[in-house]
């Protein structure tokens, strides 16, 4: 535990000179940044600035997009995860992802969460029961759905579905959780619950969140990166970015002069 504490807030993931291309368009231009461990880092910027694209580099989801090409390196655990020798499948078990729209599988609540552990070879019912309960408790959903694990995940409300997706991610015990505008499809109350949850998650996980909502970035994150047209304009402590931005572009964006 003490070892982990020491590591806390140290540079954890090092991103160096990352470029991403969609066939001929360059979506990310030479971005280098360090993500700190067990903290929340927010990526903000106007739509189309490449923040989601960059997020999807961390678990190689860009591999799934036809014509997408990535250059540069992301060093994590002394391994360059952008290297071709890296298998994205085990990587994604360590770097979980929550998507913009809640996307539970059309199965029961239980099966949604147990799916990840099951494909890793955990078959014992009692073990799975424990994992499901723990994940649901960690995602603050246990009180609401603990008594109806067999009902379809599709019957849950949007906010509950999104927390179920977070629980599904927690069940595979990742170290990093990527969130791609997780609240954009939710109402304010559901958003509040997710934000509380993110606050809890940062104790155990490194969270990187892409958000459209600047207030949200200010509320949940410790570090913020501001992107514009594929470039990282400014990166630092959230407080500083919001209260005393160094770049004019950032200030213009913060004050709503463009968007």
């Amino acid at each position: 535990m003490s070892d982990e504490l020491k590591k806390q807030n140290n540079e954890f993931i090092k991103m160096k000179n990352v470029n991403v291309y969609y066939s001929n368009n360059q979506a990310i231009k030479n971005v280098s940044m360090d993500i700190k461990e067990k903290s929340v880092t927010a990526f903000i910027g106007p739509s189309g600035c490449g923040k989601s694209t960059l997020l999807r580099c961390f678990n190689r989801m860009n591999d799934e997009i036809v014509g997408c090409r990535t250059e540069g390196s992301i060093i994590w655990n002394n391994v360059d995860i952008l290297n071709k020798n890296i298998d994205p499948v085990p990587l994604r078990r360590k770097v979980g992802m929550v998507f913009q729209k809640p996307n539970p599988f059309p199965k029961s609540v239980y099966d949604n969460i147990a799916y990840g552990p099951r494909i890793q070879g955990i078959r014992e019912e009692d073990k799975l029961d424990i994992i499901v309960e723990k994940s649901l408790k960690d995602s603050a959903l246990w009180k609401e759905v603990g008594d109806r694990l067999d009902s379809s995940a599709m019957d849950l409300s949007g906010g509950q579905q999104q927390r179920l997706c977070i629980a599904r991610t927690l069940a595979i015990e990742p170290e990093v959780i990527l969130m791609d505008e997780p609240c954009s499809a939710l109402d304010p109350i559901a958003t509040g619950k997710i934000e509380d949850l993110i606050d809890q998650l940062k104790k155990k996980y490194t969270v990187i969140i892409v958000t459209h909502n600047m207030q949200q970035a200010a509320r949940v994150s410790k570090y913020t990166g501001f992107f514009y047209l594929g470039e990282l304009v400014e990166y630092g402590k959230t407080k500083q970015i919001f209260e005393n931005p160094q770049e004019e572009l950032t200030e213009n964006y913060m004050t709503g002069r463009f968007g």
Binding site: K84, K101, I119
Partner: protein, 634 residues
């Protein structure tokens, strides 16, 4: 399982995400890849068959290549055979062209009505009717042409017993579904803002439809006509039954003519002595294949142009497209000038008052709705005629006895069993292959040159005339692989024929599964196959099943490809896959041509059975689809 974990643990110490060789995943992908690549093997087999047969034809001393192309007499048997393909070509052009001349205006009119004027309720009634027209096997149309339409021409115009006119009329209905559905799709795809801007300028709905929507959708309409033409050129059963088997160089529709497909069918049914006349079928098949291939290629390029819009992504294709575009432009100009001439012959008043414009709209609407009504009346006429003709022959005895030379003793028991075996075997082969190919193309294939090539090959296979599959099956399965004229050969031929349909239907089902399911599964570390296996396939199953059933319903009515190998008579039902077989459509074919008129009634009774089976299959497919839709919670 335990062993695997140990290996990954030792690898973990060095690099947790080291890319390992995943044997299971790789072999599954290889399997899927191979089932998709079967299409290439099949295409090579078809081309080999046609070239090999044509080679032995052209190297025969009795044949002269120059005479083949320019000769005006096609007399394959007898003491002094002559092989000039022009009579066959003229017969083909007469019938296919005539069918389009009637079918295209009716089809486009119906599509215009459906897409622009019909209410939702009318659409929901008419669309299934069009689908029914498409689903009726060609052998049924053939029976209808010879037994019911042909006598009308004989009595009214003094046509010969076999005549081109009856084939033309029936075939014009057969090409309707293709023309209607593709034209309808392209007219519905015209962006709303175009229509709205025309209406906002004070145009009536009719003016908007004819002057804005139709020109905007012209490439789709042309593609639909081309595809209809390819269908008409490749059609075998109607022309074989109704148009006759004498190759006359004539354009008089009341005469007897022979088409290219009809000649191949004549060879298949053994009316031609073996020798050079049989290998002539391969040369004719090659010509037919090349013509339909060219038409389908042009049509598909036109369709691609619609889909990708005017901006071309690949520069290489630009020139290619320009030629096609110019072709379309010229075609358009010719059409519109013809249309205008046609209009100018009708008296046009100089002052266009609002009243006249409205009257025009009313008349136009009536004309295009009449197109639809014509198609519906035809369907009703066809069904009632066949049912009244065949209903008396239906009995338990008919279903349980064997075919006989005495009409009152004849039954279809072995025929029914043969068709069911054939269908089951076809499903056994086509379902895994087709679904596998579709999974590969939709879930695993990258957008590489090879993938595009595969897609084109599969698309081309769908456009090959069915009788050509028969030629290919005869050479490859019966002779080269030595399966003989057996159930196995028959089902393999049908498998190849329905494969493109299964692939397309399965891909459609796979595409309807939202991407978010795949993202969700991949995001928590599923492999691609796990994603497909656990999340895509279970949700796509109803759609895939529907596709398989519908493609089988196509197979059960198909006659031409198994004409070469199906038996005419059998005393027992087949006991192994290497036995010969009888099949429902073949029996209908032979009974329709039987000199004893009583057998025509039996043919009609058999048609009722076929239609009943098709009806049951389609209802099953619809039930599966609707149940899946009502249960679907995403």
């Amino acid at each position: 399982m335990i062993k695997k974990k140990k290996i990954s643990k030792s690898a973990n110490e060095r690099n947790p995400f080291f890319l390992k060789f995943n044997f299971k995943e790789k072999s599954i992908v290889l399997l899927l890849f191979s089932s998709a690549s079967i299409a290439i093997v099949v295409s090579i087999a078809i081309i080999y068959t046609l070239l090999e047969g044509s080679y032995s034809f052209f190297t025969d001393p009795a044949v002269n290549f120059f005479d083949f192309i320019f000769g005006t007499r096609w007399i394959p048997s007898g003491n002094n055979p002559s092989f000039g393909i022009l009579p066959l070509l003229s017969g083909t052009i007469l019938i296919a062209g005539g069918a389009l001349l009637i079918g295209a205006p009716i089809g486009i009119g119906s599509a215009l009505y459906l897409s622009q004027f019909a209410s939702k309720r009318i659409r929901s009634i008419v669309k299934p009717i069009i689908e029914v027209l498409a689903g009726i096997p060609s052998i049924v149309y053939g029976f209808f042409a010879l037994i019911i339409i042909s006598p009308i021409f004989r009595d009214l115009f003094g046509a010969s017993y076999f005549n081109a006119a009856s084939a033309i009329v029936v075939m014009s209905i057969m090409v309707l579904p293709i023309i209607v559905s593709i034209s309808d799709d392209s007219m519905k795809a015209v962006p709303n803002h175009l229509k709205e801007s025309s209406l906002a300028l004070g145009a009536t709905k009719w003016e908007t439809s004819t002057k804005v929507v139709m020109p905007a959708a012209s490439s789709g309409i042309i593609a639909s006509i081309l595809l209809g033409l390819a269908r008409a050129l490749g059609e075998t059963m109607v022309v074989t039954l109704a148009a006759g088997s004498v190759a006359n160089l004539t354009f008089n529709p009341l005469n007897e003519v022979q088409t290219m497909t009809a000649y191949i069918a004549q060879v298949a049914t053994g009316d031609i002595p073996p020798g050079v006349a049989v290998s002539a079928a391969f040369a004719v098949g090659l010509v037919l294949f090349l013509i339909t291939y060219a038409i389908n290629t042009i049509a598909s390029k036109v369709v691609i142009r619609i889909k990708s819009g005017s901006k071309s992504k690949i520069k290489k294709r630009k020139r290619d497209k320009k030629i096609i575009y110019n072709f379309i432009l010229i075609f358009n100009k010719v059409l519109t000038s013809l249309f205008k001439k046609f209009l100018s012959t009708i008296k046009i008043r100089k002052k266009l008052t609002l009243e006249i414009r409205y009257r025009k709209q009313r008349r136009g609407k009536i004309i295009v709705s009449l197109c639809l009504i014509f198609a519906i009346i035809f369907l009703i006429y066809l069904l009632t005629n066949i049912i009244t003709k065949g209903i008396d022959g239906l009995s338990i005895q008919f279903l349980t006895s064997f075919p006989s030379y005495k009409p009152d003793l004849a039954g279809i028991f072995p025929v029914l069993i043969g068709s069911i075996y054939l269908m089951l075997l076809t499903m056994l082969f086509a379902a895994p292959l087709g679904v596998g190919a579709a999974i590969y193309l939709n879930e695993f294939a990258r957008d590489s040159r090879y993938t595009r090539f595969l897609r084109r090959i599969i698309q081309n296979l769908a456009g090959v005339p069915s009788i050509v599959f028969g030629l290919m099956g005869l050479t490859i399965f019966v002779r080269v692989l030595n399966f003989g004229p057996s159930l196995l050969s028959g089902s393999l031929i049908l498998t190849i024929m329905v494969l493109p349909i299964v692939v397309v239907a399965t891909e459609e089902a796979l595409k309807s599964i939202p991407k978010s399911f795949r993202d969700g599964a991949l995001g928590i570390g599923s492999t691609r196959w796990q994603t497909v296996r656990h999340h895509v396939l279970p949700n796509a199953t109803p759609g895939i099943m529907t596709g398989i059933i519908l493609s089988l319903s196509r197979a059960i009515g198909e006659t031409a490809p198994i004409l070469f190998i199906g038996a005419v008579f059998a005393k027992t039902i087949p006991s192994s896959i290497f036995d010969g077989f009888l099949a429902l459509p073949l029996t209908i074919f032979y009974w329709t041509r039987h000199p004893k008129l009583e057998f025509q009634t039996l043919a009609a009774s058999t048609i009722i059975i076929v239609l009943l089976i098709l009806f049951i299959m389609n209802i099953t497919a619809i039930i599966i689809r609707q149940r899946a839709q009502s249960r679907r919670n995403w």
